[in-house]
């Protein structure tokens, strides 16, 4: 049962990473990046690395989203490339 759950988490991880790369709206990309961080934290917790998962969930999914949005608000909201 465990590996199916891990496979689903891996799939969501890859999908959220690709979505974060493709989005033009940077705030939506930050939201996708938070999803990515949370999936990474869940995967790390399933692998038994609870300390790392803790750090990833608190820093990656919590603080960096706010800091990224603060940084985006200092510049343009849409990405150009």
């Amino acid at each position: 049962m465990v590996w199916e759950l891990e496979l689903a988490l891996f799939g969501l991880l890859v999908v959220s990473a690709i979505v974060a790369l493709q989005l033009r709206d940077l705030i939506a990309a930050v939201a996708a990046l938070s999803v990515y961080s949370f999936m990474a934290a869940a995967l790390l917790a399933m692998m038994g690395a609870v300390d790392v998962a803790f750090t990833e969930a608190a820093l990656g999914a919590g603080i960096t989203g706010v800091l990224f949005i603060g940084a985006i608000s200092l510049m343009h909201r849409r990405s150009v490339d």
Partner: protein, 152 residues
């Protein structure tokens, strides 16, 4: 700076329900870091997240009057200072840098009424230093990223 929200539900949920819980949980993660997953970095990030949440809802101006960047910079330096001090005190006692076994903290066992090795105590002191440092740095980052909101 971010403005205060008018929604009473948001204010109540964040200020009465969420933020106190987040603070208590962060301190729990800090002091329980030796027995369960957690430690200085995680606790600092959690408490900083709680403070950032409070500032997002009540507005930065309200919070920055209580704990300003100047104070936070002193706190961050003090965190690093605690860590370095925990390294230098054993150095003065004649052993290696960061050798917590030589820290003079045996008296704490009598005060707290439990038996802990000096190295466990040293780990706790160091974790407190990391906690203060990481917490202050994250809050400083948030404060200065949102500082210029009203200017444009």
């Amino acid at each position: 700076m971010t403005e205060q929200h008018d929604s009473i539900i948001l204010n109540f949920v964040v200020r009465v329900l969420l933020v106190p819980f987040i603070f208590v949980f962060g301190v729990y993660v800090l002091v329980h870091g030796e027995a369960s997953p957690g430690g200085g970095f995680q606790a600092g990030a959690i408490v900083a997240a709680g403070l950032v949440l409070a500032r997002l809802t009540t507005g930065s101006e309200h919070g920055e009057r209580r704990i300003s960047t100047r104070v936070l910079l002193w706190l961050a330096s003090a965190g690093i200072g605690i860590y370095v001090l925990a390294g230098i005190v054993p150095l003065l006692a004649g052993v290696n840098f960061l050798d917590y076994a030589a820290l003079p903290v045996e008296w704490f066992n009598a005060v707290a009424g439990h038996e802990r090795t000096n190295r466990a105590m040293g780990i706790f002191i160091v974790e407190v230093g990391i906690f203060i440092g990481v917490f202050s740095v994250l809050v400083i980052l948030y404060d200065h990223l949102t500082e210029r909101f009203t200017d444009d």
